[in-house]
Symmetry: C2
Amino acid sequence: MTSQINANTRLDTWQAQGFDPHNCPVREILSGVTSKWTVLVLIEMDSGPKRFNQLLRRLPDVSRRMLTQSLRDLERNGLATRTVLNTRPPGTEYSLSGLGRSLLPPLLNLVDWASQHQAFIVTARQRFDDQEPSA
Amino acid sequence: MTSQINANTRLDTWQAQGFDPHNCPVREILSGVTSKWTVLVLIEMDSGPKRFNQLLRRLPDVSRRMLTQSLRDLERNGLATRTVLNTRPPGTEYSLSGLGRSLLPPLLNLVDWASQHQAFIVTARQRFDDQEPSA
DNA sequence: CATTTAAGTCTACAATTGAGACCTTATGCC
DNA sequence: GGCATAAGGTCTCAATTGTAGACTTAAATG
């Protein structure tokens, strides 16, 4: 139970000293957790456990290979759990763990930021690309 | 100026219908903005404008090539501005734009989540890798 | 005259990602 | 019987991305 006061202390420390590259929450944790497919899978799982093919259908542009890998990643990091169901043919069900659930509020805040500024950013990109068509 | 009530409506809509893959804030915006180096550069820039080599020194494990690319990305998306200084040899200064500044609070919340759960996640990874040493 | 500093670029190689064929087991359908 | 379907993946190959680090240009400094 870390207090907000301590959170501010942490923030000040980061900005003053930077992260140790070999023990850095951004490098080691965050960048793996905020990749395109893991974010979308986490959002899907927030509304209840999901099966593999169910996720495939809801995310039509993820390949089986990347879905498998994203799910393994989430499982490995303790954000999701995998359960084999005793059905025929046997199914698997993926659910959020407590840790995974704790990630969703801050993650959805960020997704909401992206959603709110999406149009503006797309416009900025067009301006930039028009100025420098060299690349 | 989107209200919290509307934010909840958006959230409910996403979870019920999912994102349109061809116009998706996670796929189009977020995944580009939350990569390892862009996050670290944004955090660095929060304490004031930074020069190219200054960033290189503060992030000893970023290559020049990736720093260049991350800064161009931030500039292209309108999160940062690039200013050439009239010094010899000429320097460049990178600053957060208003949009970039608006991203930092939710982004730092997420970094804080990663920081708080880092040790737990590392442990979960070890457990997982011990169980499945096949890979 | 060689070095340093500034802000990059360029090249070669390694790692990640994507598209999509293939696998296994079991059940329903004709 | 024999084929299609569904489940949850794996496998291979090609394309995209990332990394390491040598090289560039131009002025100032020792």
